[in-house]
């Protein structure tokens, strides 16, 4: 290999390294999360917290955030809903085009009234959904979420262990992204803003 070829090879390596670093930096900037969600998402039917039939397709034209949880949850669910309140604030005028959908994975305890009371406390644009366990399970599977009921000797009764992803649905009903519960308010808001442009 000649000296000139060596120099060209070195330059190419440096170029690849710079592009790679920029790419990593962009993805860790938090605007877009790239958790694998291929093949997931889609329409579904459940019951809303006013006891009315609900279809995701009703929300076409809006950006939708879907979260699976339960109202007796003492930690992950209040954390996410409180975080979403701050996300809404950050969205400013755009928040009117963003709808949160909280799907209960505890239909035995989460009545529509309990869901309404729970979500009302957080003062965000949220609809609570429940339904038959098999219908809820179908949606859980459809979105690649997971949960399990765990018996406990706690006075609080059984626990529900559940995944804590926040699913971002675009105005056409397509799943575009999923955030982790540890993602920042800024990262979630930035992901939503990309769809509101």
């Amino acid at each position: 290999m000649t000296l000139k070829m060596h120099k060209i090879a070195c330059l190419l390596l440096v170029l690849i390294a710079v592009v790679g670093l920029q790419s990593c930096s962009a993805s860790s900037g938090g605007t877009v999360n790239t958790h694998n969600h291929s093949g997931h998402g889609g329409d579904f039917k459940l019951i809303d917290f006013d006891n009315r039939p609900f279809e995701l397709s009703q929300l076409r034209g809006k950006v939708v955030l879907i979260f699976f949880g339960y109202t007796s949850c003492a930690d992950a669910c209040p954390t996410m809903l409180s975080k979403l309140k701050r996300v809404y604030t950050e969205l400013g005028d755009g928040q009117k085009d963003v709808q949160t959908v909280f799907i209960s994975v505890d239909p035995d305890r989460d009545t529509p009234a309990a869901l309404k009371d729970f979500l009302g406390f957080f003062s965000i644009h949220a609809i609570g959904l429940t339904g038959k366990k098999e219908d809820i399970d179908k949606v859980v599977h459809q979105y690649g979420a997971s949960y399990e009921l765990e018996q406990s000797d706690s006075a609080a009764g059984y626990h529900i262990n559940h995944s804590t992803y926040l699913y971002l649905i675009d105005q056409t009903g397509a799943l575009r992204n999923q955030f982790k519960h540890t993602d920042s308010v800024d990262a979630i808001a930035a992901g939503i803003k990309q769809l509101l442009k």
Binding site: T71, S72, A74, D75, A76, P78, T79, S82, K83, K85, R86, A114, D117, F118, G120, F121, F122, S146, Y147, E148, E150, S152, D153, S154, A155, A156, H159, N161, H162, S163, T164, H181, T182, V185
Partner: protein, 150 residues
């Protein structure tokens, strides 16, 4: 006579040492940033968080807690297992010698079960903590809106 006085003196010294040790043990634990999460008025359970500091040279564990505002307070731990947030009841939370144990969202919390009234933001709730080594601590935990804590 002199011998008796000497024996009494030694006994008194022992008593003072004992009292001194007990006093240090009593103040071995301090609690910081104690707060209770405010929830919807109808919610019967909530969580409490705090930092427990152990200033002694030996390990101490929190083994129970109680409060008049609820039926029972349990010690719970949250952890992520197989991408699921899992909650479990634990028997104790160890506070290492000259270290601390943090009760925070996503980790340990006081699980406050069966609230007998709605909690108002800003109010102080009395909670009694029982530690090993017979240490008892009464603390006040402020009710806070979770939104302001993120």
């Amino acid at each position: 006579m002199l011998k008796r006085i000497f024996v009494l003196f030694v006994f008194a010294i022992f008593c003072l040492c004992g009292l001194s040790t007990q006093s240090q043990t009593g103040s071995a634990i301090t609690i910081k940033d104690a707060w209770i999460q405010q929830g919807p008025p109808s919610q019967k359970n909530t969580a409490g968080f705090m930092i427990v500091e152990n200033h002694s040279g030996k390990e101490i564990a929190l083994i129970s807690a109680k409060s008049d505002i609820c039926n029972v307070v349990e010690l719970h731990k949250m952890e992520t297992v197989n991408e699921m947030m899992r909650m479990k009841k634990v028997d104790q939370v160890v506070v290492p010698a000259n270290g601390q144990a943090e009760f925070k969202p996503g980790g340990y919390h006081l699980m406050i079960i069966g609230l007998n009234r709605a909690l108002k933001e800003g109010e102080d709730i009395e909670v009694k903590l029982q530690f090993t080594s017979n240490i008892e601590k009464t603390i006040h935990m402020q009710v806070k809106n979770r939104e302001s804590m993120n």
